[in-house]
Amino acid sequence: MTSILRFRKLCFSSVTPKSANTIRSEDTVIPEAKHTSTAVKPKRRRSGIWSCIDSCCWAIGYLCTAWWLLLFLYNSVPVPAMLQAPESPGTRLSREGVKAHYPVVLVPGIVTGGLELWEGRPCAEGLFRKRLWGGSFTEILRRPLCWLEHLSLDSETGLDPAGIRVRAVRGLVAADYFSPCYFAWAVLIENFAKIGYEGKNLHMASYDWRLSFHNTEVRDQSLSRLKSKIELMYVTNGYKKVVVVPHSMGAIYFLHFLKWVETPLPNGGGGGGSGWCAKHIKAVVNIGPAFLGVPKAVSNLLSAEGKDIAYARALAPGLLDSELLKVQTLEHLIRMSHSWDSIVSLLPKGGEAIWGDLDASPEEDLTCTFSKRKSLQPSLTNLHTQNISVKQELWVKEPTKFGRIIAFGKRASELPSSQLSSLNIKELSRVNNTSNDSLPCGEYWSEYSEMSRESIVKVAENTAYTATTVFDLLRFIAPKMMRRSEAHFSHGIAENLDDPKYGHYKYWSNPLETKLPDAPEMEMYSLYGVGIPTERSYIYKLSTSSGKCKSNIPFRIDGSVDGKDVCLKGGARFVDGDESVPVISAGFMCAKGWRGKTRFNPSGMETFVREYKHKPPGSLLENRGTESGAHVDIMGNVGLIEDVLRIAAGASGQELGGDRVYSDVLKISERIKIRL
């Protein structure tokens, strides 16, 4: 920039005298001789043109100069004290003498990891080893269809389509910043560095988050690499165990890894032998873990409407919502996300036992304290210190039926269960009614195009689906996708964990169908934000599309449904959570399912729940805030960073202060009756 500036100034200095000359000559010419009139004319014409192009140039030049001047000032003026960031936890801890101890492995979640192109179609020429996902996303705008084609996986196998290889970026750069100004791990990494971490004891286990967990090993050997990396770091750091920090979906990816690594080689495991985890892992510090899935994944698969599971929407909201492109864009997105197995891993696990049935749900009476608070005190500061009397006042009529994850129409979401239509979805046929003569809109693959309108209507008639029956709905709507993905993921609860069938890899990422490894000294943490309304169940409607295009997504979230309180807004019901993961999913396992010696945790490793109350940034200057509890922003939360650093530097859970709970997670867990 400065060099250009300098260059221009140089040119300018050589030109100014000239222009000054011309003007001066004009001066002298007017009173003088006749033969100069020919010389005057072109100059006059020039002044005529001047008003148009030249003034543009002038204006632009003026703006540029002003801009550069400001930029220069901005760069040269020291940051005023009030804008200076408060001391980072890393600096403070380093002064307290906290030093790097255990090597650290970071496991990113879905969406935040970068993906780059290794082999592509002709339309992606010049993008070799450039990021398709993450970074500035400029390619979406430039060649959207090409981009979609390259990010989609094969709809049959869930692996690469022929001739396309898109791979995860490696190293810390994979997920430090999601896009240039939107940090994911960067703040945490910087704080780690302050207490002495560097490349040799800090590793980012990036993986292709579109694939099913087993396929990351089949295609890229990501699990083997992670194993070898942990072993190496264990040895090169003087036989110190490793602290693992997974985020979001990374938490269940790492659960999968824990089982994989101890399973013998012939059974498709890593062959580390039992005791591998006990030997190599000190603690697993899950940040915002989606242990039991997120309801958002359901809406995402049904109608591509999850609010931020696919950031794609947030990136181009105008594009998605404009009526012109709407038909195309959402269809394309649903097609792309249906080809990603990993989203299926985030569907709610544990069925009605965890998420509640048609009539009752664990959170039912603990709700809607947001509403009052939001209107009274927008800052949400003393969320849970509010006296309980408010809560009880608010709980007026019937308990909200959160168990109905998908309900068609507001009535269906509130009616007593006896009045709902008792449709057995498994018996419905999805025969394509050929009389429905509309043609598919494009060549893109969406299984909706194979469904007849009648069956769609039947599915949606006065029905509500719970965490168990919602799978029937999904299987009905997208049979191929579910068949493909359910070979990789399972969402039930194990009756008998010793059943040999649970040796199959599809159970490994479900904490309710696996045992934790035999590692009594290992520690399990669950760190997550609370105090933000989080989607828990949805009210749907049939989309009233013109019907021109058969592959239209037939269901929409009924955005017009708003309740009296904030718990029902825009067609979604909300509970406490971190904006993406409800408390029940993030906290239940550590608060109850694994607490003490249970059948899921036979060796009785210690578990800790640490919640961070959300506090929105006080001003715009604070950017995303240092006390946020939101799903991704929490990685910049100073409290959380301090906890993670202390664990990495050798502190145990007890030294941190054990549990730290603000939400009702303990009460909610009490209500969930599963055999432990």
């Binding site: 222009s19 030049g61 002495g196």
Partner: protein, 671 residues
Amino acid sequence: MPLIHRKKPTEKPSEEEVPDDEDSQKKPHESSKTHKKSSGGGVDKGKWSCVDSCCWFIGCVCVTWWFLLFLYNAMPASFPQYVTEAITGPLPDPPGVKLKKEGLKAKHPVIFIPGIVTGGLELWEGKQCADGLFRKRLWGGTFGEVYKRPLCWVEHMSLDNETGMDPAGIRVRAVSGLVAADYFAPGYFVWAVLIANLAHIGYEEKNMYMAAYDWRLSFQNTEVRDQTLSRMKSNIELMVSTNSGKKAVIVPHSMGVLYFLHFMKWVEAPAPMGGGGGPDWCAKYIKAVMNIGGPFLGVPKAVAGLFSAEAKDVAVARAIAPGFLDTDIFRLQTLQHVMRMTRTWDSTMSMIPKGGDTIWGGLDWSPEKGHTCFGKKQKSNGTRGEDGENSVSKTKPVNYGRIISFGKEVAEAPPSEIKNIDFRGAVKGQSVPNNTCRDVWTEYHDMGIGGIKAIAEYKVYTADAVIDLLHYVAPKMMARGSAHFSYGIADDLDDPKYQHHRHWSNPLETKLPNAPEMEIFSLYGVGIPTERSYVYKLNQSPDSCIPFQIFTNAHEEDEDSCLKAGVYNVDGDETVPVLSAGFMCAKAWRGKTRFNPSGIKTYVREYNHSPPANLLEGRGTQSGAHVDIMGNFALIEDIMRIATGGNGSDIGHDQVYSGIYEWSERIDLKL
């Protein structure tokens, strides 16, 4: 930004038209009006000519710039290629595309080992002045910081004088992953072309790995500080096992060649000092080592670099800012700073010529004797080799053995006429020639006039004497360095002292591993004049702290002379002379020798340099220059054929253009 500005012109004119109608309104900066008035009133002309025309001009430039930028972006990506093809005729397919058509597929995992200078370094912990540079590149990339805060940069890039490790409070680490050395600076490829071609036949990061290391450290220290060797071992093991047991192909470049020699000894040595991989580790995991431009026996350039910081690109620092370094105002400081910085880097000492007079020649002989430098002629007809050897040179034979000589006469005089006055015992003297140099640390300020004179009076230094010279000139640095590197020839390789790690990177003091199936290639460019020995003079200038300088006025009238600007050149790749790159594979390791007890097959593959025909070709696809050779299609094809399962005889055994065999014959070394 362009978006914002492009909108502006549409708004502005409309604003400006309004005051045209209502003349009563006056805006002082309204240029269009002022100009219009100039025909009548002419009062505001003075104002216009100054700021406004400036703005106008900047605006004009901006608009054209954006317009061109827009055109450039709108242009299809294949356009430059199309133009090039139109001018030079159809280009050959890149080797990746060609071999893919032949049906070759990725097979063996490939490991790259970058050389000195080309790997990126980033900041992990720094002093106050480096605020905001966390995890930003200090080395590689745009080098923006060199200009912004040069002293801060030098401070962070330097290592500790005593230990050769991090100074307190500063941690600069190697960038890891393929990005570490794919591009050195934007647009200046190093490994990128090779990577792109390998990707064509199915390679990706799971079977391609860049073993980046901190190239400033001595080899053993990379393990001590960063465990780089352990990481490399673990990665090779992992890649071999995940690629169903197919052995790895190693591709080191430049100093990476020595680094990998060190690795091969380290990995088989027992645990405390070595990697504990056992005596057959290399046989189990390595298929081939394809050394690109390997300075097996060191480079004379390293001597000049250490002696007077004047090597042309051992420290590319100079090339990056040539104007900056050569301006007289900055010179006295800059060179000193560069010297001080490079002297803290142990790795530069790994490249000091090895093997002494036996390899590099004595006072009166050198292996390359009789080599003639045909300079331009060679380049034009492109045929070299035998006719170069046959034609009797008219010029006086060059005494390449004299790596440093003081004065041109001395460089040419017969050995009997040179009177050496031994400098080794000379008192360095206490008087400091120039006090201004004090704040910049080089060991020259410990040396008085007496010492400097003694050095100059010794007149001529051969490869052996050069090492003594460096010991004398920079005792601290050499003391640090000789704990990590050694430059001799082993008499008895079984002597237990050769188990120390300082010998591991010297091919003349180690045996190759016991791996009869392994293959070692030496791939390098020839046909470019390469520095071989120097003519020095005392630096008379009172400002300079470095008392010696290359005598750049020393040259012959004859155009064919090897002496140019104080430097005698031989054949090579611009950095590494043929002798250093080729000798080991051409002779010392050929067959079963004491350096190669298991008889590993060796191949010498030379690539004749032909400069790019025109500017459009960039750095050329047939270059033989030290770094540009990584874009040489023939070399890439050879590497790919080996990586896809070929062996040395599949790619045609040796391929020799230079006089390497003849020169190797002249070297009398027990094998």
